[in-house]
């Protein structure tokens, strides 16, 4: 019961925060609200029994993402979003049609929390029953992440490495070039 109340309240808060992010024009306020948005969703992950995801979202989503956004704000020295010149009727139409199609798709989906939903009957019982014996880790999420889906995690590391190199190439090289140009002058 308490789970349901927390779930409903937190989701309502998250929706309100998203509307606030849409309406605001001050970029600093948008970034701070985005941090709150991430933190609220981390709280919701705890309520939905995903403790590991909540840790990661609080540290990486609310922490690092917000810091990166603030760093970009500092580097670009922008403060206010300018009002777009054209009326947003076409985007609104696209969003409403897509949203209606998605809502139609949820009408016969298995209800939230159902133990007999197709998602709960495929490989998850196998992980829960044999994961402890096969990997020796009581936390099944860690067991699946590091053992059953180890290559998946290797792929993730590759993506982060590639993104890191790309960021260095985009920003790191440019800074040095500016310095050498100044030294020549």
């Amino acid at each position: 019961m308490i789970d349901t109340i927390l779930d409903v309240t937190l989701l309502a808060f998250i929706a309100v925060t998203a509307i606030a992010i849409l309406r605001l024009r001050n970029l600093f306020a948008i970034i701070m609200l985005f941090g709150i948005f991430s933190l609220l969703s981390a709280g919701l992950f705890v309520v939905l029994d995903a403790a590991d995801v909540a840790f990661t979202e609080a540290a990486v989503g609310a922490g690092i993402s917000t810091v990166l956004l603030l760093a970009t704000l500092a580097l670009t020295k922008e403060h206010e979003e300018k009002i777009p010149s054209h009326r947003p009727w076409l985007p609104l139409l696209v969003v409403l049609v897509t949203g209606a199609a998605l809502i139609y798709g949820t009408l016969d989906i298995a209800p939230f929390g159902s133990a007999s939903a197709p998602a709960q009957t495929h490989v998850a019982p196998l992980y829960l029953e044999q994961g402890m014996a096969q990997t020796g880790v009581p936390n099944v999420v860690t067991g699946v992440l590091a053992s059953y889906r180890g290559f998946d995690t290797l792929g993730e590391v590759t993506v982060i490495f590639t993104a890191g190199i790309a960021v260095l190439l985009l920003i790191g090289g440019r800074r040095r070039e500016n310095q050498t140009r100044k030294e020549k002058e």
Partner: protein, 119 residues
């Protein structure tokens, strides 16, 4: 009726968030705001997966004496990966914004477009 609404409430709010993020991405011209919108879309997908993996009266999937019902661990694993990859892509997008600002002196889409046209 109440039970049907509670059983689908999570999915509807997730779709609302998804569409809010999508709307910010396609209707706003400021690139930092676009990235914030993209992140809202991303978090809504995380919420969708975790909602699907939740089992009523279950507990976090850490094997302990005295518990028999656990939530589905697989969506948790997939979303852990997605969160970290999401930050990597966000940082790349922000680096591009910084470079665009250096090259054009603005991060508003309309102004960048005008500068490209006037060249």
């Amino acid at each position: 009726m109440i039970e049907y609404i509670l059983g689908h409430y999570n999915y509807w709010i997730v779709i609302f968030l998804m569409m809010t993020g999508f709307y910010i991405v396609i209707s706003r011209g400021n690139m930092i705001k676009k990235i914030a919108g993209l992140n809202i879309f991303q978090v809504s997908v995380f919420l969708l997966y975790i909602s699907i993996g939740n089992v009523r009266d279950g507990t976090a999937p850490i094997i302990t004496e005295g518990f028999t019902v656990y939530s589905n661990p697989l969506p948790h694993v997939l979303i852990l990966t997605a969160i970290v990859v999401g930050v990597a892509t966000t940082s790349l997008a922000l680096a591009l914004v910084v470079r665009i600002r250096e090259a054009y002196g603005t991060i508003e889409e309309d102004e960048i477009h005008n500068k490209d046209q006037s060249l």
